[in-house]
């Protein structure tokens, strides 16, 4: 869960003059910079069975297997081949173990550059329920969801 110290620099409130401390506090409440970080609503999401199936044995195809001959843009979008700053997808689905390490420690996927790794991770972060690999991705994160 996000807490104060790793909050992105941009959102940190400017140091308020002492006289306005009280208003700043209320303003802070207003802009909901609270224990939950910037999210005003946090909904409990079920932990996908990471305990049951170790996240490390699942895999994430990039992109969906129903999207043959597509490339991945650096922001994670699935685009046509040779689109600006996009890369060919990995030849094999990425293993849960590699994805977890790459997301946690920034390691590159074996055989791919850091730009490619970054593009693939942005694609993975956009996965939603129902998409291939979502269960695997969700089980990598919980419970310490960033």
């Amino acid at each position: 869960m996000r807490n104060e110290d790793d909050q992105p620099e941009a959102e940190r409130p400017a140091a308020a003059a002492p006289g306005e401390a009280e208003t700043a506090q209320t303003r802070r409440a207003m802009l909901r910079i609270g224990a939950l970080g910037t999210a005003a609503v946090v909904t409990v999401r079920p932990g996908i069975a990471h305990a049951a199936v170790s996240a490390l044995t699942c895999q994430i195809p990039v992109p969906q297997s129903t999207q043959p001959n597509k490339w991945i843009k650096n922001n994670g979008d699935v685009v046509n081949p040779n689109t600006g700053n996009s890369y060919p997808p990995p030849s094999q689905p990425l293993s849960g173990e590699d994805v977890k390490n790459s997301l946690k420690y920034g390691t590159n996927y074996p055989g791919y550059t850091s730009q490619q790794t970054n593009a693939y991770n942005n694609y993975i972060k956009k996965l939603t329920m129902g998409k291939q690999g979502y269960t695997c991705y969700a089980s990598l994160q919980s419970p310490s969801r960033q």
Binding site: T43, Q64, S65, T66, P68, K70, V78, T128, M129, G130
Partner: protein
């Protein structure tokens, strides 16, 4: 326990379970879960004298079904809120309709996705409203998008970004490519309002729609559960005078007389459902193929009879699209594997 016959018998005649041996119970539970009928079975056996472990397992299944019902009703409410401002009153289909209208078919039933039917001309507005409400395309590749919009009776499936729930928006109950052409306008015209801004199909149309699953979705996945719906609905609706005549008329109107007859015969064979003999017609040789496919589940919950299943899988696509398209579709799916 060689196939799912024991489950069909237990549902139709709960007393038949009294003689089950310990491993018989284990297999029955495994088959019921695999066919997603454990909730229905749990309610059917609710007041039977059962061994303690079975009673507990079925109590849990009832609790699980209750949770599923709450989720289904919430999805109906959220869809209503998204569509009501446009003046669109969606027609609820299958599980969501049974749950919302409180029909016996809903008792213990696992409700999967939310299926709704809209007039075809309101589809684009509805699509925009659902996307604005947080739904996203589950299949957003160009092939699927084009395929659904051009050939199918529904939009590509939508999944909610936060809730993870899925909604299928239909404008008819059979793909456009199918030889049979149900009268979507008649379905909408005869639909019944069950609450402000929410409708369900008329009883006869509900049976016709349930039968399309046996016919349109051809591969019969979830077929036993679907047929149990038919049994539950028929036992309720048949009590109304003139129902069978109305069902006959609607089945003809939607060019669905054979599938409805087939559904009646299969329900009779598997659940001893009282059906109108003239409408059901005499048994056909190939009915047995359907029965074997519907019961193709062993005591471990594994799907069995692979060649029978493959036959129905190919048939399901054949029903949906002309041969050339079928070849291309199967080729793309195979390459994507």
């Amino acid at each position: 326990m060689k196939d799912a016959r024991a489950l069909a018998t237990a549902l139709a005649d709960p007393v038949s379970t009294l003689g089950l041996a310990p491993d018989g119970w284990t297999s029955l539970l495994a088959i019921a879960r695999a066919e997603r009928l454990d909730g229905s079975l749990a309610y059917r056996l609710a007041d039977m004298p059962l061994p303690a472990p079975v009673a507990r397992a079925l109590e849990d299944a009832r609790a699980q079904a209750e949770f599923g019902r709450t989720q289904a009703l919430w999805e109906v409410e959220m869809a209503r809120r998204a569509l009501a401002p446009l003046g669109i009153a969606p027609i609820l289909l299958k599980g969501s309709a049974f749950a919302f209208a409180g029909l016996p078919a809903a008792i213990g039933r696992v409700v999967g996705d939310l299926d709704i039917l809209l007039p075809r001309e309101r589809l684009d507005e509805a699509e925009a409203a659902l996307l604005a409400a947080g739904f996203e395309w589950a299949k957003d590749d160009d092939y699927s998008q084009a395929y659904y919009r051009r050939w199918m009776h529904e939009l590509p499936p939508l999944v909610h970004r936060d809730r993870g729930s899925m909604i299928d928006v239909h404008h008819s109950i059979l793909p456009l490519t199918a030889r049979r052409r149900p009268d979507a306008a008649a379905l909408i015209e005869d639909s019944v309002e069950v609450a402000p801004g929410l409708r369900i199909l008329s009883p006869a149309d509900m049976i016709v729609h349930a039968a399309t699953h046996l016919f349109a979705d051809g591969d019969l996945a979830g077929g036993l559960r679907n047929l149990w719906d038919v049994d539950r609905l028929l036992r309720l609706f048949a009590a109304a005078p003139g129902f069978w005549a109305r069902l006959d008329a609607r089945a003809r109107r939607h060019q669905m007389i054979e599938p409805v007859a087939l559904a009646l015969r299969l329900a009779d064979r598997l659940f001893a459902t009282p059906v109108e003999p003239r409408l059901a017609g005499h048994d056909r040789m190939r009915d047995t193929l359907f029965v074997r496919r519907l019961l193709a589940r062993d005591g471990w919950g594994r799907s069995i009879r692979p060649f029978n299943r493959l036959g129905f899988y190919v048939r399901s696509h054949w029903m949906r699209m002309p041969p050339l398209m079928l070849a291309r579709h199967l080729w793309i799916k195979a390459r994507a594997k």
